[in-house]
Amino acid sequence: MTFSASDVRFERTRALQEIDRITTSLHDIVRVQLRRRGVVVGLSGGIDSSVVAALCARAFGAERVLGLYMNEAESSEDTVRLARLVGDHLGVPTVDEPLSPLLAAAGCYARRDAAIQRLVPEYGADWRCKVVLPSVVETERLRVFLLIVQSPHGDEIRLRMPPDVYAEVIAATSFKQRMRKMLEYFHADRLGYAVGGTPNLLEYDQGFFVKNGDGAADVKPIAHLYKTQVYQLAELLGIPDEIRLRPPTTDTYSLPQSQEEFYFSLPYDRMDACLYARDHDVPLAQVGEALGLSEAQVERVFRDIDAKRAAARYLHAPPLLVT
């Protein structure tokens, strides 16, 4: 049988069954196993949190889902607007939790900027930045992180990051995901709710999350679904078009950053197909033909998948006990 990128997709009937299966499972996990009354979901205006909130609303009723809006100074305008669009569309209670004062108090921005200033002394609060990786598809080069900064005049500087600067920028930026989770647990504790996590399979498997940040949750309803399948469920759940058509973004740095720039080798649909192919022993030539890539390119993507999986072991590890 020939491999095709659409192998990842659900048949329509299967997608509808999956919605029912998750809904039933959510009820069992949250109400029966965890003995919680509902679920808190951070709404980012992205596809994953929208689908998780919609599934939870089906499982517990909209009134038992609390949506949190947690934008900060560097969130895109779309984040704020689309998150509200989902909250309104689902009719769930929502709370505004502006994140910037907490992040500023923890030194998120100041610590990050100080690390960048070791590399670019003139970098300041009115500059913008992001961290990127070279594409494994376009080049054989090792994936070494690059820092891109933009001056207030729009001049861009691109620099290889020394390890200490890279680690400190990532550590400071991770305050964003961890602070959001702290607020989610505040409301969960207040209401007797569980916290819903929003990673899809691609993110969960490849470690595209912050440990004890967006990686923390009591239940992860879509961590077994390819992103392609999450989009299918979004359509069936009636998630507004504008959210379904928006390209995935990290919305973590002040310069716009796609998920491919920072983490994945390919756009999500082809990345899904590669992950599926890697796990189903599809020959390189077939994957290449289906996705318009050479065998060497597919091999590099597979190697990258394996490397990320290995690095994700630490992220997935619970606190380990001495026995």
């Binding site: 990786l133 070279p134 090792l142 994936r143 190697r303």
Partner: protein
Amino acid sequence: MSELIGDKELLRAFIAKNFYVPADQPLDERTSFLQQGIIDSTGVLELVTFVESEFGIAIEDHELLPANFDSIAAVSAFIDRKRGTGDVLRL
């Protein structure tokens, strides 16, 4: 009197000090760092920075290839080539 330490020994000591090398898989000079999971992408960054500072070599982005950085032998050969081209800042 101290003995001069060779490039490969310096590299081996750096890898052993900063990354985990399983005791049952001794670090051969041709052991692949990436295939054996000894260094990840952050580790590559550390190795590149170490080679630049320790050996006084300026490394261009286009030289960041597995062929140059995936084993002790590969890094050592790369350093030798760079010395040959005069890209060495100091020794």
